[in-house]
Amino acid sequence: MTTIVNSPKGDPAVREDTPGATRKPRRPGRIRRLGLPYLLLLPALLLEILVHLLPIAIGFFMAFKELTQFYLRDWGAAPWAGLGNFDVAVDFNAPVGKALLHSFWITCVFTLMSVGLCWLLGTAAAVFMQETFTGRGFLRTLFLVPYALPVYAAVITWAFMFQRDNGLVNHVLHDQLGLTGGHPFWLIGDNSFFALLTVSVWKGWPFAFLIVMAGLQNIPKELYEAAAMDGAGIWQQIRRITIPSLRPVNQVLVLVLFLWTFNDFNTPFVLFGRAAPEAADLISVHIYQSSFATWNFGTGAAMSVLLLLFLLLVTGIYLVLTSRGRKVSRG
């Protein structure tokens, strides 16, 4: 069920049309040369259909079926539900819809905070790392560790650290620093939101760091030298050169972080198991629970479809807004 929601990661940069080239007079050699790229793209296209489009289609199909344990094995034969599954999912006065809405808001707030913090930390670290100093290579490697670790192992370790009685977090916060009044719970109750946010940011910011660092390499040094000659300070250089130059990088970075965080299943699932605490009930796990735990696979599929539509809408609006902004700033 969860595979369905992964779809909009497709890279907008992969476009096959090259309109300028096709208008030129057709000569056999050229055609052959032109045909080859398409031929080479074919496997990718095929995979794209199999990996993304087909599951989405199956998900859509399931969303209109009454899919319970009785039809699980031969789900094509399940009776049609019409829009029934969607009705259940969006009836916000009834328990299922209410829980979905709650989970949706939690996910929105969580995603905004996580993406914001990841971006801020990643950018700050990348700017800081522009200066050459001893130990820079070591620090760079160290910063990328969370990104390189297998998600499962890393999150399990966090789960251990967040344990109330034997965990490292409470040991440091309470026993060593005396910041908390007692040993609070991190994996159950309201604090679980912050536990999840911590792990998510820890896991996500190195990616932002990596991308921003790559983006910074492309800014010509001369710009900074010229600015410095004109008397611009560090802050002004960051504001007038770094941030505008990073704009295209940030456009993609924020979008990717947003989609990954909004859809993240592994982190909450490994941290909390099948039943996440209400305060940290992210939508991907919520949908999983609706499908796999209560065996309402049709409703789960309907929720996935709604989630996909929402993410497409947000992505579309975002791309239109940010692209227009760029054009204006260039003109």
């Binding site: 344990q163 009685d165 159950i188 099948r274 735990a293």
Partner: protein, 437 residues
């Protein structure tokens, strides 16, 4: 990263193709014999960990290969993954040939139609239905239908207690009623030590405990015709009684609210907790360095005033069943393997190792199963254990009510005093999840 993504993509494609081809011909009622020489077996995690299980089972699988020439590929699946894995295999049609299921899921999985039904003919292939104990057969599927699985290991709940801690607190014999248990627990629960252990975030364990308490209150979580009924008085009283051991009686450590990976057993082994309600815990205690004479075992308590401990329900019928996946490519081989695993000799050997009770009558007579611990478990199973409702919604019940109990434990752990209304509200939410189907 790039390589990982490529690998992941190709894995998805392969599984999709497999799913697509499986959907085409998924209507045959019994498995075929396309590849009779190999089997895949999903074993549930029974021992202290997955590695231990592999070490225990592999020699037996080698023995089977020597006898029949059929090679068995073993995969030990942790409990937390097992049900999801089975459901995924059911949807895609690509699964193992033979697998373990928790016996409480029998009816739910039976309803999916993914498991080979055990009719007279199939039972004859493994020596007949009469070889198995009645109570174990009681949780192999819905009544009036051919069982969806055969019993493999049987277990029952018992009260395990730390002898030294009891002595220290001046307790001479294990509690017989819940009142005695909470009184004893209160004597012990001080100075970082606690009376009773619980696994507040383990949904299935929560269910097992509240089911028994509901039975003791004269009720159940389902109506006689199999409809979910989570908010009746007996069910509410049962759940309240269980979480109150933390919230009101304060004999369960608040930290237990987040336990789900048998941490309560380690606490017991370390002498932090004096009692646990568990099934066949001997192997785990041993692996955690506890000597067999350091702990004792008694039947799970009953309500005060109930006539005679041992008559009232004081355990669910716990255990593991063995099932054959309908999509198997080796139906004959699978049957041979089930016969092997349920043979008298294997039953004795495996149950001895795992500390469980053989559901095969002939194997039970082995003197190894006369140990005091197993005697208690065996008698419970024979006289006072009740099978969880064999209804197709059982698995959903485990998740929804199990989550409700988890949420209530979380509130109790944060210091909230729980009223009957609080308990009823959580159970109502659980009930509504079910009603939406």
């Amino acid at each position: 990263m790039q390589r990982i993504r490529a690998l992941a993509s190709s894995a998805v494609v392969v599984s999709l193709l497999a799913a697509a081809t499986a959907c085409g011909g998924g209507s045959s009622d019994e498995g075929s014999n396309e590849s009779p020489k190999t089997l895949t077996y999903w074993a549930s995690n029974q021992g202290p960990n997955v590695e231990a299980d592999k070490k225990i089972l592999q020699p037996e699988l080698d023995k089977f290969e020597k006898q029949t020439g059929i090679k068995v590929k073993l995969e030990v699946v942790p409990w937390s993954d097992l049900l999801t894995r089975i459901l995924t295999a059911t949807t895609s049609g690509e699964g193992p040939d033979v697998l373990n299921i928790g016996n409480t899921w029998s009816s739910s999985l039976q309803a999916t139609g993914a498991l080979v039904p055990w009719d007279q003919k199939n039972f004859d292939k493994i020596g007949g239905k009469d070889r198995f104990v009645e109570s174990a057969l009681g949780s192999t599927g819905a009544q009036g239908k051919d069982p969806a699985a055969v019993p493999l290991y049987s277990m029952a709940y018992a009260l395990y207690y730390n002898k030294a801690m009891f002595k220290e607190a001046g307790i001479t014999e294990p509690p017989k009623t819940w009142d005695e248990l909470t009184a004893d627990g209160a004597k012990i629960s001080k100075g970082g030590k606690w009376g009773l252990g619980a696994e507040g975030s383990n949904l299935s364990n929560n269910i097992h405990q509240v089911f028994v308490l509901a039975k003791q209150h004269g009720g159940d979580f389902f109506t006689a015709d199999g409809k979910a009924d989570f908010t009746n008085d007996a069910a509410v009283a049962a759940v309240k009684q269980y979480v109150d051991m933390m919230a009101t009686n304060k004999i369960i450590a608040p930290g237990n609210a987040e336990y789900a990976k048998n941490q309560s057993l380690s606490d017991f082994s370390k002498g932090k907790t004096a009692m646990v309600l568990w099934q066949a815990a001997a192997t785990t205690f041993k692996s955690q360095g506890m000597q067999d004479d350091e702990w004792g075992v008694a039947p799970v308590p009953v309500q005060s005033g109930a006539p005679g401990a041992g008559k009232a329900t004081n355990s669910m019928v716990a255990g593991i069943n063995l099932a054959v996946f309908k999509n198997t490519k080796s139906i004959d081989g699978s049957m041979k393997f089930v016969k092997f695993m349920t043979s008298d000799a294997e039953q004795k050997l495996l149950c001895k190792t795992y500390g469980s009770i053989p559901p095969v009558k002939a194997a039970q007579s082995d003197p190894a199963f006369d140990r005091p611990e197993l005697k208690v478990l065996r008698e419970t199973l024979a006289t006072s254990a009740t099978a969880l409702p064999q209804v197709s919604d059982e698995s959903q019940f485990e998740t929804s009510v199990g989550t409700a109990v988890k949420n209530l434990f979380a509130q109790a752990a944060n210091g909230k005093k729980l009223s009957t209304a609080d308990v009823k509200a959580e159970l109502t939410k659980a009930q509504q999840q079910m009603a939406s189907q």
